[in-house]
């Protein structure tokens, strides 16, 4: 079947099977910034925004995304670059495989929570796993980023 998706503000048509998940369709369209990590909705690497809210695209039927605004990290490149400065300054980008999904969730959190505590940050981002950093550097980066954004 053919579906029509709104991806980063552009309309894209895609061939897809009825039971196919959004990650597969996005990657096939060339949106390789959406990563596939675990197949079970645990790791968060496949995170995209659906109408501004983070979802796991590996567990979301592509057909259900019709009529919604899909945002990948490339749709928020300017903001993502700002956050990347803080993340890389802590060395907390590491292998980077979780980074696009993680960064999208950070940007969504910034919009959703005002003045989050460290516990709030950890909780909001609990679904974005990272095997490299031990998370401490990412927390340092997020705190500094939020501080700079709010200044």
């Amino acid at each position: 079947m053919i579906i029509t998706l709104d991806i980063n503000g552009k309309t894209e048509r895609a061939e897809c099977a009825p039971g196919e998940m959004l990650t597969e369709v996005l990657r096939r369209l060339g949106h390789v910034e959406v990563k596939k990590g675990c197949d079970t909705g645990n790791c968060g690497a496949c995170t995209v925004l659906l109408d501004g809210k983070p979802i796991l695209s590996c567990s979301f039927l592509a057909v259900r995304a019709e009529g919604h605004a899909i945002t990948t990290i490339q749709g928020v490149e300017h903001e993502a670059k700002e956050f990347a400065k803080f993340l890389t300054a802590e060395g907390a980008d590491q292998c980077g495989f979780c980074a696009p999904g993680f960064a999208l969730t950070v940007l969504a959190m910034k919009k959703e929570l005002t003045d989050p505590s460290e516990a709030d940050i950890r909780h909001y981002l609990a679904g974005n796993l990272c095997r490299c950093t031990g998370y401490e550097g990412q927390i340092r980066a997020i705190k500094k980023y939020l501080e700079a954004e709010n200044a």
Partner: protein
């Protein structure tokens, strides 16, 4: 200037130690960081050709079986199916999948595809089709008949079991490693210094401790992935998420019976490795399909396959006996291991030996030490390399036994360690006797700031030996524990890395290295080393790595080798480049090289009469200097004559719930001596990340099987890794240290972080409850049962 990175003189040592750095020992952002965060195409699957065939592997549903027949007729009828390949399509050449030196210290006990399957998930056949759905459908249509055998699943029953897992006649060891497949032994090792039994018999105080350490999964977020294609010259090109491109090329050449000149391996960005990609898991299968069909082919393992069919950490039984005087003088260590290598013997001996070689030297003053045991085959997924291999298992036993000794002596465990541990300027016989799979290399410890690590760690955790456990609420106990660790920095005289520098028009340099950045940031730190030595900025170094066609050789990223081994190669290359530039400019100036001074990207004569910028010279040498025009390029290599260990002192505070048995890590303090951290942020992150993997292993990560040998923990649902809510705080500091043999004083940082958590947390639980746990992970059930068991005896 030092002539050789590995052998500094006293003078250069002092000079270097007080040197002010501009780029190394600073925080420099990773050169690829922004691109990765923005999701630019970077990893293997991102780069795969759109028309690549999709490869799917049919895997064994049985733990041990012989394939009677494979019927692919129905599958081949399906439109879009390109081929189905079985063991009959493979050369009958035994190989190892372990990425190691040549010859490998692992037995060649594996075929790309075999008539026998030896664990659930073992490869049976390869299916390729035009799209993934068709490949999966085709795989389901292939009919395989098996003759099923009784598997060996319990590694304590493997030795001399009636079931022989490897009866095939072609398999062999490359040199003596104790390989006895008829007894299910993949490797064996034994060594003794002094007379351990006699010494133990003489000791007034002895302790014994046995602990079972579980197998653990790497869980790099990027699954193992490779694609292959034939280039215009008909050469096989493979792009793969590997930690060791050259070993992969060599092993594939053997497996496929191809000249190495016909194969190219490229490593793009990798989404994590941790040792899990130090092997050949996906490459042979895409290669077979491309060679058979002439078409590009790709294989991305799904997460279940990564769990079930790549490698895990070696499960071990670690038995320790210690003997000491009443004043705490440690006199003898006896360490006996039994290691489970699973179905194939990849890294069997090396991991085993590290269990002793990177633990026993910590207590170098003992009169007698013994180490040995067997590595056995079972019908479980193969074990392989995993960050901290051997060391984490050995230390989990040894550091718990040291604490038991402290309890028995009524001593502060910190003071017991300080009294007996290794110090700067000392050595250990173990270094000479035990290497990784071979004899070791004698070495004197030129940098060891373990005392300072301990001092600072105590301060950060608030260590009070009289108050190591206290109740914070009814049934909730806070407790502290500690452990120390060492690692290595590459394998001496075996690991080799090389680097090539070339001046470009514009006054910048190409830096080509074989080293393999797994996401650790090694491309960045290697560029930092070159920039520091050449007196240029980071933007003046263009780094390219890990391509067997285009970069110089490197064994790969493992054994904590990249900073020390590959980094030393880069430093040597930068020094040679400087010398070559000065010679070329001297000829231009018409003066002797000694009269040319180079600083801040500018050459001048000592008298100041002549001056030329690096940029001007770069154009002159490539466009303007007529018969003197030349490419200024150098290639240098480095193999370590020693493997200077980094050290770490860990202190943990836990909260233990006596009602549920749950253990929470409140604060994990680790103070490490990694020599000069080439990149302060990246070194710290290495330790932090390693600690959390170690904490996961200590508390809940576990590879579980059914009675038939099916893995039960084959998803991130059933094998959870730590999330950012699971640990209170991780506090890492690096102490001032300078390793004279390392590049700008650096040692390794990649593995040392993972080594301590199981031991330190075991010691904290002991302090909280009075009970010593003997089986990892320390789940609430195990903690609770141990407490209840102990209560029975009161």
């Amino acid at each position: 200037m030092r002539e050789y990175v590995g052998t500094p003189t006293q003078e250069t040592r002092e000079l270097e130690a007080t040197r002010k750095f501009n780029i190394v020992a600073h925080n420099v952002s990773k050169v690829d960081g922004e691109g990765l965060v923005l999701g630019r195409p970077a990893y293997t699957d991102d780069l795969a050709p759109r028309d690549a065939l999709h490869v799917k592997l049919i895997r064994s549903p049985h733990a041990f079986a012989r394939i009677i027949s494979i019927d692919a007729a129905e599958a081949l009828k399906l439109p879009g199916v390109a081929c189905v390949l079985t063991w009959k399509d493979c050369p009958r050449i035994p190989i190892t999948r372990a990425g190691q030196g040549n010859p490998e210290p692992s037995p060649h006990d594996r075929f790309i595809l075999d008539e026998y399957v030896r664990y659930v998930g073992d490869e049976v056949a390869v299916v390729a089709a035009e799209d993934e759905a068709t490949a999966e459908k085709a795989a389901s249509l292939v009919k395989v008949e098996y003759e099923v055998f009784e598997p060996v699943l319990d590694f304590e029953k493997a030795l001399d079991n009636p079931t022989v897992i490897h009866p095939e006649p072609e398999i062999h060891e490359m040199f003596p490693i104790g390989f006895e497949p008829k007894r299910n032994i993949a490797a064996a090792y034994h060594m003794e210094i002094g007379d351990v039994e006699k010494e133990l018999a003489d000791c007034p105080v002895t302790v014994e401790h046995t602990v079972y350490t579980q197998s653990q999964q790497h869980v790099a977020l990027e699954p193992h992935t490779a694609f292959s294609y034939l280039d215009l010259q008909g050469r096989l090109n493979i792009v793969t998420s590997t930690q060791n491109p050259w070993h992969t090329r060599r092993l594939l050449g053997l497996a496929l019976q191809m000249p190495l000149s016909r194969i190219r391996i490229v490593k793009p960005r990798i989404g994590g490795g941790f040792g899990g990609k130090q092997h050949v898991h996906v490459e042979p299968y895409v290669a077979m399909v491309t060679l058979r069909t002439g078409k590009p082919a790709k294989l991305v393992l799904n997460r279940r396959e990564v769990f079930e069919s790549t490698f895990t950490r070696h499960e071990m039984r670690v038995s320790i006996r210690l003997g000491a005087d009443r004043d705490g003088t440690l006199r003898a260590i006896d360490m006996k291991l039994l290691s489970n290598t699973g179905a194939y013997g990849e890294h069997a001996l090396t991991v085993f030996m590290v269990g002793g070689s990177k633990t026993l030297p910590l207590y170098n003053k003992v009169k007698a030490v013994r180490f040995g045991g067997h590595v056995v085959y079972t019908n479980k997924v193969s074990a392989g390399a995993y960050r901290g291999y051997g060391a984490i298992q050995g230390l989990t036993g040894l550091e718990a036994a040291i604490d038991e000794l402290a309890h028995k002596l009524g001593m502060d465990p910190v003071e017991l360690r300080r009294k007996n541990m290794l110090h700067e300027g000392e050595t250990s016989e173990v270094f000479r006797i035990m290497g990784e799979g071979t004899e070791g290399v004698a070495m004197t410890i030129d940098s060891c700031k373990l005392e300072e690590c301990i001092r600072r760690g105590k301060e950060l955790i608030g260590w009070e030996p009289d108050r190591l456990a206290w109740e914070v609420a009814p049934g909730r106990i806070r407790a502290k524990g500690m452990a120390i660790a060492m690692q290595g920095s590459g394998i001496p005289l075996i690991d080799m890395g090389s680097a090539r520098l070339e001046l470009q028009d514009g006054g910048f340099f190409k830096l080509h290295v074989g080293a393999t950045d797994l996401g650790t940031g090694s491309d960045t730190i290697l560029a930092q080393i070159a920039a520091e030595e050449l007196g240029v900025d980071m933007k003046d170094i263009i780094i390219h790595s890990s391509d067997t066609d285009h970069t110089p050789f490197d064994v790969g990223a493992y054994a904590s080798s990249t900073t020390y081994v590959s980094g030393s190669a880069v430093l040597k290359a930068a020094r040679s480049m400087k010398q070559k530039l000065i010679e070329a400019v001297a000829r231009k100036f018409g003066v002797a090289p000694e009269q040319v001074i180079y600083e801040r990207k500018r050459f001048r004569t000592a008298d100041g009469a002549k001056s030329l910028s690096l940029e001007e010279f770069s154009f002159d040498t490539l466009y303007h200097d007529g018969e003197h025009m030349q490419t200024i390029a150098v290639t240098e290599s480095f193999s370590g004559e020693k493997s200077p260990p980094p050290y770490l002192a860990a202190f943990v505070e836990i909260e233990l719930d006596r009602e549920t048995g749950k253990v929470d890590v409140i604060n994990y303090v680790a103070v490490a001596d990694v020599g000069t951290p080439i990149n302060t942020s990246l070194a710290k992150i290495q330790i932090e990340g390693g600690l959390l993997q170690g904490i996961g292993m200590a508390l809940y990560e576990d590879v579980r099987y059914s009675e038939k040998g099916h893995m039960l923990s084959h998803s991130m649902m059933t094998y959870p890794i730590p999330s950012r809510e699971d640990v209170g705080r991780i506090t890492v500091e690096l102490v001032d240290s300078y390793e004279p043999s390392g590049p700008f004083g650096a040692k390794s940082a990649g593995e040392i972080g993972i080594d301590t958590p199981p031991a330190a947390i075991s010691n904290a639980i002991r302090n909280a409850t009075g009970v010593r746990l003997t089986k990892l992970p320390f789940t609430p059930e195990r903690v609770l049962m141990a407490i209840k068991e102990a209560e029975k005896h009161i």
